[in-house]
């Protein structure tokens, strides 16, 4: 039966397409090039528009929304400065493979290239940090382009897609027809793994004497936590997660040996270094994970599972590559393992676990729990206890991010939301807002530092307007802590421009935005403050914890070192 066709203006088509795509929230900021669209948004109520206070906030909020829900985050900004302000957020999503669809207004088709008012080559500027982008040149292409954008953003290895829409296109009319499905001859992500490769992998996995499972954000993106958990328990092997992969396997499970990498646990990094079979799943061998590539996993045969062929063997040669969606591949591998006559080598595994436990006995994450001055780790540990490990936690970038990753034990996927790849300060607050919009009944906490927090502080207004009561836990060490740490270690303590002078009164700041502010200076008051903040369910609360300025993130692998060359702490060095 032929569909009923109506004649609509581009701006109407835009709104209808979002509705038909099932979009509930649109994060945006208006301007000349998108005013036709804003006028249409006014007339409908299928899509709720969230007015942010800076376009960077729109992209981060949509990104947080996407990370927490698994659905694409959607953004609308105007041309020129609207588009350039959105770029940091687009690049952030790109590095972590987060599905976003970002609509940028553009000057009218007739004046493109004339340096028109608020013209910028959004396609050119975003090309290196998007999965794909489109310039819509005819209103007839608008609906199909929106369909393509959502399809590309959410399938295969997800990522941000930019759609640049000139203003005249939003006024032109044509028939509206939104396709249900779409195929592109030039874009066909691989779904299933190759059976032959998977058989070889199963054999190698079962032959291991010192196995390690190393998993990343790909497991979360593929919604494969259930499969990963079954796979890992079936084998009984130790598992480590990357910063992006936390929560894919329950952190409180006895097989979990912590995060790996620069600030990962001693046992995870040593396990990587000495393993004989490495099973890499949805992880991309980032330099913060591998350390010096020359020294990386010298004894291991490597199986790598990834949906993106270009991720396989990019940094590290791989013995058995498997291209495919992690969820499908793990499902098939579980079958193969169950039906195999071989079983894991129990005796070797016992010895290997003994070794792992010996490493773990060093207790690499210890800190001074008796300190009067607030230890940042203590705040996070308490937060974890009080929220029973079940909060959505966003973070910014720096020491606080690493402590959050080390001390908040995530048992579920999509609970830990941080900018791992790009390391974007300013991400945490708007991301938390996006999460809270998606899950109004859940506890959403932003763990931040006083330097990161102010990078997108203006979104406190948005939190008030849309009633997204989040909890902001600021670990205020009056330093760009991570910068200070590097300056202490590698620049003889010359703290060049890393001291945060002239900090604002954060309590007053929170209050001026209509929220609750608390300032906590002693360890004994930490728990009470956290309880108070969490109890104020209807309010956004900013807790300014005045923490130990000298605390460093340990353990640490210095840049250029191998995974077995960790520093445990200032006063505890390894032989």
């Amino acid at each position: 039966m032929a569909k009923k066709r109506e004649l609509l203006r581009g701006a109407e088509i835009f709104c209808r397409a979002l509705k038909d795509e099932g979009v509930k929230h649109l994060f945006g900021y208006p301007g000349g090039a998108v005013l036709h669209i804003y006028d249409e948004l006014y007339k409908q109520d299928a899509v709720e528009h969230i007015l942010v206070r800076h376009e960077q906030g729109a992209t981060h909020a949509a990104d947080g929304y996407a990370r927490a829900t698994g659905k694409p985050g959607v953004v609308l900004v105007t041309s020129g400065p609207g588009a350039t302000n959105a770029v940091t957020g687009i690049a952030t999503a790109y590095m972590d493979s987060i599905p976003l669809v970002v609509f940028t207004g553009q000057v009218p088709t007739q004046v493109i290239g004339n340096d028109a008012f608020q013209e910028v080559d959004a396609i050119g500027i975003t090309r290196p940090c998007v999965k794909h982008n489109f310039l819509v040149k005819n209103v007839k292409d608008l609906a199909i382009t929106i369909k393509k954008a959502f399809y590309i953003a959410t399938t295969g290895r997800p990522g941000p897609v930019v759609v640049d829409i000139p203003k005249d296109i939003t006024a032109d009319t044509c028939e509206y027809d939104y396709p249900d499905t779409i195929t592109l001859r030039s874009y066909r992500p691989v779904a299933k793994g190759n059976l032959w490769q998977m058989k070889k992998a199963a054999q190698l996995i079962l032959s291991a004497k010192k196995p390690m499972i190393y998993t990343g954000g790909g497991v979360i993106l593929s919604a494969a936590s259930g499969e990963l958990t079954e796979f890992t328990r079936l084998l009984g092997y130790p598992i480590t997660n990357t910063l992006m992969g936390l929560g894919a396997f329950p952190a409180t499970d006895k097989q979990f040996i912590g995060m790996l990498g620069m600030h990962g646990t001693y046992e995870a990094n040593m396990g990587m270094h000495y393993c004989d079979v490495l099973i890499a799943i949805g992880a991309r061998f980032d330099d913060r994970v591998t350390g010096d590539l020359e020294k990386f996993c010298p004894y291991a045969k490597i199986v790598q599972i990834d949906v993106d062929p270009a991720s396989i063997a990019k940094n590290v040669p791989v013995d058995i590559p498997i291209v495919g969606d992690v969820k499908n591949v793990l499902t098939d591998l579980i079958d193969l393992l169950k039906n195999s006559n071989d079983k894991p080598d129990a005796k070797a595994l016992k010895a290997w676990w003994q070794q792992v436990h010996d490493w773990a006995a060093l207790d690499c994450l210890q800190f001074d729990r008796s300190s009067q001055v607030i230890k940042p780790q203590y705040v996070i540990e308490k937060l974890w206890e009080l929220t029973q490990g079940d909060a959505y936690v966003t973070s910014d970038v720096g020491q606080h991010q690493m402590w959050a990753a080390q001390f908040y034990k995530f048992d579920k996927p999509r609970r830990w939301i941080n900018s791992g790849g790009l390391g974007t300060m300013g991400f945490g607050l708007p991301a938390a807002m996006g999460v809270k919009l998606a899950f109004p009944d859940e506890t959403v906490v932003c763990i931040t530092g006083e330097a990161s927090l102010v990078m997108c502080i203006q979104e406190l207004s948005t939190c008030l307007q849309y009633e997204t009561p989040i909890k902001i836990i600021s670990l205020n060490n009056r330093y760009m802590g991570m910068v200070r740490q590097w300056q202490e270690f590698f620049y003889s303590g010359r703290y060049s421009n890393s001291y945060m002078e002239a900090l604002p009164d954060f309590v007053k700041m929170a209050e001026s935005y209509g929220h609750v502010g608390l300032r906590i200076e002693e360890t004994s008051a930490v728990e009470g403050a956290l309880k108070e903040a969490l109890a104020l369910e209807e309010r956004t609360v900013l807790v300014d914890f005045v923490t130990d300025q000298t605390e460093n993130v340990y353990p640490m692998i210095a840049a250029g070192k191998g995974q077995h060359e960790m520093h445990l702490s200032t006063d505890r060095e390894l032989a």
């Binding site: 090309r127 590309i152 592109l184 030039s186 062929p309 270009a310 063997a313």
Partner: protein, 163 residues
Amino acid sequence: MRHILSLLMENEAGALSRVSGLFSARAFNIESLTVAPTEDPTISRMTLVTSGSDAIIEQITKQLNKLVDVVKVIDLNEYRHIERELMLIKLAAKKEDRDEIKLMVDIFRGRIIDVSENTYTIEMTGTGEKLDAFIATLDEDMILEVVRSGISGISRGNTAIQS
């Protein structure tokens, strides 16, 4: 090692800049690049000459395949193939040199396609090496202008690369 890659891609405005942007962003090297539409006007074919270790060529191929506009990538080195390049070259042709130039052009199977009082313009196709060799036979001061198309490649025999 030198590789000749053949790409079929959507004949879209931005496609070429996606490919060249990829090469600069990832610090891959391009020796030459040519592109034009095929018999199917929605598809362009690009021939790209690059070089690198096996691992780098593998990454280049994968990254090209990952571009949404790219329909197919073929490494012609894996096939028996033919490569050709077109050169247009303008020479100062003094009376006394003209016979010699004509002889060389014949030997290299080129053609003189334009003549003026003082110049010859020559058209020549062949592998890059052959064109280099021709240039090497010429006196440097004789060469007024050189235009080369970059390499185009195609597989031999029955194999045909289609979308």
